[in-house]
């Protein structure tokens, strides 16, 4: 479903260099990216989503070569095929829960906001335990509720790839597992892929594969692979 080959990226005027000879994740598979801060986990997610332009290599997702797409097509790809989840939730304070969930449909004409989509947003909110909080604003929600709202927003367009950057970083242990359960359930149900950048090693046994950016090694449930050049 997603395949990255020969990736090389540098930020201008810095010593930072990210290299990834091979990364592959299939449908219904959850991958964790681990490593210390500044090692390139977030950058890797940005390269996959087309927010950064790689200098070498290729990123293939669902039959499309992302690095060859135009800016416009990258945006269309992001809005239609990707779901983003952030550590700080990325909710808009002036929108209520329902409007936050529907927000992707209001910022790009590619997605058409229909009655069916609104119903789906309510159904998602119900599945995530937010049905009685649709009219509430982010400041009226708990941390767990905010992250569930952010997840509902990331799932509204039924993405084939979910990218999460420290999705459990601001949550208590109980909520961490609950949130991960929600994401893994979606991945299994919709045959999507999940890539999570995390520092939380307690959750790693829930993932199908783990990429350690410190050693550039890939650990799957079956084997350990050295990814370094």
């Amino acid at each position: 479903m997603i395949k990255v080959t020969g990736l090389e990226f540098r930020y201008p005027k810095t010593n930072f260099c990210l290299t990834m000879p091979l990364f592959q994740a299939n449908s219904s598979q959850a991958s964790a990216l681990i490593g210390p801060s500044g090692c390139g986990k977030t950058t890797f997610l940005q390269l996959i989503s087309g927010l950064q332009t790689l200098q070498k290599g290729e990123v293939h997702i669902d039959g499309q070569t992302i690095n060859l797409l135009s800016d416009r097509d990258k945006r269309l790809f992001r809005i239609s095929k990707l779901g983003f989840i952030f550590q700080d939730f990325g909710l808009l304070e002036y929108l209520n829960v329902l409007d936050n969930i529907l927000h992707p449909y209001r910022i790009n004409h590619k997605l058409e906001l229909t009655r069916a989509i609104k119903d789906r947003a309510k159904e998602l909110a119900s599945q995530l335990g937010l049905s009685d909080k649709l009219k509430r604003y982010p400041k009226q929600l708990s941390q767990g509720e905010k992250q569930r709202t952010a997840i509902a927003r990331s799932l509204i367009n039924q993405p084939k790839l979910l990218l999460a950057d420290e999705p459990t970083g601001n949550l208590d242990p109980e909520n961490k597992h609950a949130i991960l359960d929600l994401l893994l359930n979606y991945v299994n149900e919709y045959q999507a892929s999940l890539i999570v950048a995390t520092h939380d090693h307690q959750l790693l046994d829930r993932f199908d594969q783990i990429v350690d950016f410190r050693t550039m090694s890939l650990e799957t449930k079956e084997a350990n692979v050295d990814l370094s050049l």
């Binding site: 927010l51 945006r75 269309l76 992001r78 809005i79 990325g90 927000h103 910022i107 790009n108």
Partner: protein, 372 residues
Amino acid sequence: MLCLSLALIGFVPWFLNLALKETQKRLTARAETNALVLGSTGSALELVLNSLYFNKEMPATIPMQAVTDINKSKLAYAIPLNTFYHAGEFTIVGTSLDYFAFRKLKINQGRQIGIIGETVIGANVAAKTGLSLGDKLISSPDNVFDISGSYPLQLEITGILEKTGSADDDVVFVDVRSTWIMAGLGHGHEDIASLNDPSIIQENQAGNLVANANVKTYTVITKENLASFHFHGDESQFSLSSALVIPKNDRNATLLLGRYLGDSALQLLEPAGIVQNLLSTLFRIKRVLEAVVWIVIFSTVLTMILVFVLSLRLRSKELNLLFQLGSSRNAIAGFVFSEMAIIALGSLALASLLLILSGLFREHLIMQLIAK
């Protein structure tokens, strides 16, 4: 709050401009007639404002003789004005029927003043007080301790004028002799001779009876007691606040103006010139105000730019989120621009609303400013 502050910035100069234009229109419309103003020497501006707009600043008095002299000259006719008295907040204007003809005032309800003690009120007076035909209006005494001074006189409303949008709407018109009764120069009382009551006789000088304070004086003029009203003293010396002088032609106006040039007690003025001087002062003030307003607008715009830039910085995370989710930079710029446009349009709508609302009382405000 942002919309309101922007709206006020837009509204104030807009309102000032409109108010000044309207003030100019009203001031010049009434001043640019062929009427001259005759009054006591002193402040020409106060005299003109009192005579044309019934401004509450009172000029010194002139005698009725001044009006008679003008009429005798055959160069013009004069309309007496006495604005010294009030009925509540409204100025009582004692004048003659010529005033109504000169100002082309029409009776909307009722009839014209027939006798002393009757009044015709302006449209705004009727609207504000709710008084109608046949109702009574009492003149305010000048000073409650001045028992020999002005008398409260009950006036019967016989007519209500059509609205003119001028100072005439806000005054109470009476015959000039009614104001002299208020001044205590004339009165009506019981017929001393027919009463044959010794308690009211102070002195009997060979059949010429002088009453004491026990005699009943009338505070209401009716058809029945009208004949008992009389004036004491020389009517030609009774006071007026001013007179409007209507010359028959420009030549007569020039001649009359020349006659009063050297007069130490009286002055004859061309109101248009006086009002023009006032307007020039007003417009000088307006120019200063405009300069101040422009500086305020300029500093507001700079502040708005600062607020806007700071808000963009504060919202950079939000805007970046939109980009990450799949919105184009142009679309994001469009959102931001739309917000600015909504604020601008909201402010404009609010400023327009304020202007419309202010229009409801602008006329009243201007008339009050002129009258004061």
